[in-house]
């Protein structure tokens, strides 16, 4: 996961690029069998350990998803952490510092 958090004025813009297949559940493999959906379901964003945003995603979000949002009151040096959880139960957390 790549996270960039840049403070500008009284808020920080956070851009996240996650690495995930995001299989839609609509595609078929070579034998005509449907490939089961495999996608990120839940996103949690925290600022210095406090949850500031949660999101739910369906299988229609693109492969290797991109996410951008703004956190109010985040200053340089603050820690932004993003956690995703997919429908197979896998999860990943990464942290970045606001610059």
């Amino acid at each position: 996961m790549r996270i960039r958090a840049q403070a500008s004025g009284d808020k920080a813009t956070v851009r996240v690029l996650m690495s995930h297949e995001m299989e839609s559940g609509q595609r078929k493999d070579g034998n005509g069998k449907t490939i089961p959906a495999w996608h990120i379901q839940d996103i949690t964003a925290t600022l210095n350990g406090k949850t500031v945003m949660t999101a739910e995603w369906g299988p229609a979000v693109s492969k290797n998803p991109f996410l951008q949002f703004n956190i109010k009151g985040a200053k340089a040096g603050d820690k932004v952490a993003i956690t995703w959880k997919d429908n197979k139960g896998d999860s990943r957390t990464d942290e970045a510092t606001v610059s």
């Binding site: 949660t54 739910e56 369906g58 979000v61 492969k63 998803p65 949002f69 703004n70």
Partner: protein, 183 residues
């Protein structure tokens, strides 16, 4: 001995029990499956706790007029409305309309962007649901011209391969001359 059928029945019953008591681990952070399975905008908004959506100028959706690649369509939503609880991004003609839902907290701006897949040209919707359950939407027409683009590329490649034949076919009509058959 327990048959497969019985085992399934039991596990389903246990799962049901867990779900009703809120103990099911998968629902600890609730992924709203019903909303993401909804086939149309109204059902998805309803499943996310909003009333029938009303069009509003205070909700803004950003997206391309013509999407070059249906697998990656950048979409954004923002709103100037107060007391917004959650915002949704939806693509009307996708197999399931709802793409993404964002829970808003006072610490974040209501301004989110992500990328979506689109099966075909469709209206894309941004819906903001307020704390009192009212839903406001903005929509935008997004052409996904992968088909046309692919045809164009095919056409160009054929044209480049057969330039001379095509010229031979069209030139006489255009210029009223006979094509030279010897170079």
């Amino acid at each position: 001995m327990q048959t497969r059928r019985e085992t399934l029945k039991h596990s389903a019953a246990v799962a049901g029990l867990f779900a009703t008591t809120g103990l099911f681990p998968q629902y600890a952070q609730a992924f709203d499956k019903a909303a993401f399975d909804a086939k149309n905008i109204a059902d998805a908004v309803k499943a996310m706790g909003g009333s029938a959506p009303v069009e509003s100028k205070d909700v803004t959706i950003t997206g391309p007029d013509i999407a070059e690649n249906g697998a990656v369509v950048p979409l954004g939503v923002s709103t100037s409305l107060a007391n917004v609880k959650r915002v949704l991004l939806l693509v009307e003609k996708n197999p399931s309309a709802l793409v993404a839902m964002f829970n808003v907290s006072p610490e974040v701006d209501v301004n989110f962007a992500t990328r979506s897949k689109m099966g075909q040209s469709s209206d894309v919707y941004a819906v903001a649901i307020t704390n009192d359950g009212k839903a406001f939407f903005a929509k935008k027409r997004s052409q996904s011209d992968f088909g046309r683009l692919r045809r164009l590329i095919t056409y160009i490649s054929i044209f480049r391969r057969n330039t001379w034949q095509i010229q031979c076919a069209f030139a006489p009509k255009l210029l009223a001359i006979k094509p030279p058959f010897v170079f």
